[in-house]
Subunit: 260 residues, 2 copies
Amino acid sequence: MSHFSKSGPAPTRRTLLRTTAAGAALTTVGLAGSTAAHATSPVRPGPRIGILLYDGFSVLDATGPAEVLSRLPGAEVTMVAQRRGPVRTDTGDLRVMAERSIADVDRFDVLLVPGAGARGTTSTIANRSLLEWIRKVHRHTRWTTSVCTGSLVLAAAGLLEGRKATTYWASAPYLESVYGVTYVPERYVRSGKIITAAGVSAGLDMALQLSALMAGDTTAQALQLALEYDPQPPFDSGNAAEAEPWLKELALQLLAQSQV
Amino acid sequence: MSHFSKSGPAPTRRTLLRTTAAGAALTTVGLAGSTAAHATSPVRPGPRIGILLYDGFSVLDATGPAEVLSRLPGAEVTMVAQRRGPVRTDTGDLRVMAERSIADVDRFDVLLVPGAGARGTTSTIANRSLLEWIRKVHRHTRWTTSVCTGSLVLAAAGLLEGRKATTYWASAPYLESVYGVTYVPERYVRSGKIITAAGVSAGLDMALQLSALMAGDTTAQALQLALEYDPQPPFDSGNAAEAEPWLKELALQLLAQSQV
């Protein structure tokens, strides 16, 4: 079922832990995971998850869901881009490696398209080969998903026609007016096999919901605990529907100034 | 004040947006940020933030705070590792580029040490040159921070002696018994200029609090809105203090099985 395998035989955790006293102690207190995990047979192949990177993507849009989905039993997460190699984020500070090019692979169980600032979004919704690749992959996915302005990219690829979807709060009028999509201001919105998430951090919530859909509620609940996702932001300012106009303006200023 | 500058003159957002009709539309609806942002003079240098990558780190530990802190006015986020180049995450699926080596740089306003699985944590707490670098950088930071088992690394570097701190829930007994640190089961714990965060996703909450400390509550509130951080996880299972033992066991199994 899997197109890619992790290269070469990896040392088992048990082997690694036997080599140091610290490792033994870590096992004892749970850092290394339960010994029961090591006693089980190898995990069967799980979902193959492809995350599309492109110049100017927002790092958390891609890596938040990657953190969650990579823990699904047997899952493989592959970062894909037009070309293999490092892909720069919107701030220009970070680069994440694309391990495959779109020419290398066109089958995934899950496709995820992250969002970006204006530069990354405008160039991607005008990139015909990327949009064609998205359409091709989408034909065979179990789930096609997006985070933030990634839903504009799905819309540009023609996948959201007649659907409801969410996106970054400031991009909702664009999604509605340019693509005729019905914007639903929720954390994530499912329409058939397409799930769109709201801005940036919403990818975490969406990925947990997607985990529940693929592996069941119990596994998703355990994943949430595995990532200690018991959010306690210091403020209550993350919901645009309740934000004052001046705070929205400041938020957009901070974004614009941080982007290259 | 800044040791690093983004290389070369970047085109302004205004330039980029003028080139496409789509860009203009994006500006209108706010995706590109407010026009007011473009009218302001260049942002003065802000905090230089160094995030230490090492083989086996957990991607969200590093990229969650990077997403937040990179939006602080004038901020520069630099990924640093023992050697420049791609650094592999705990699952082996992802690689993030370290743009500087520890030999290149030893001054940051903020140092952040992410956590890892057993492999990454055990090798890092035994890596004398990394620990020495952390001590050297810490002497001049405004804030020294960690996420998840990153606090074990700070402890191994000798920075948490006689302090209270937090860490990944399953690693708390290790932090207490091996390093004599007082574990406080909170989302993030400040002790002097050191702030430790709980597991993985807690780095987001900590980074927002740190943003408030550095740039004020209003800026931090706007950042939270900029990232649409209005968390709505599908379950209420992320708090280890309230979790059943079997769910903790399952969470640790999922982690162990996902790591290479």
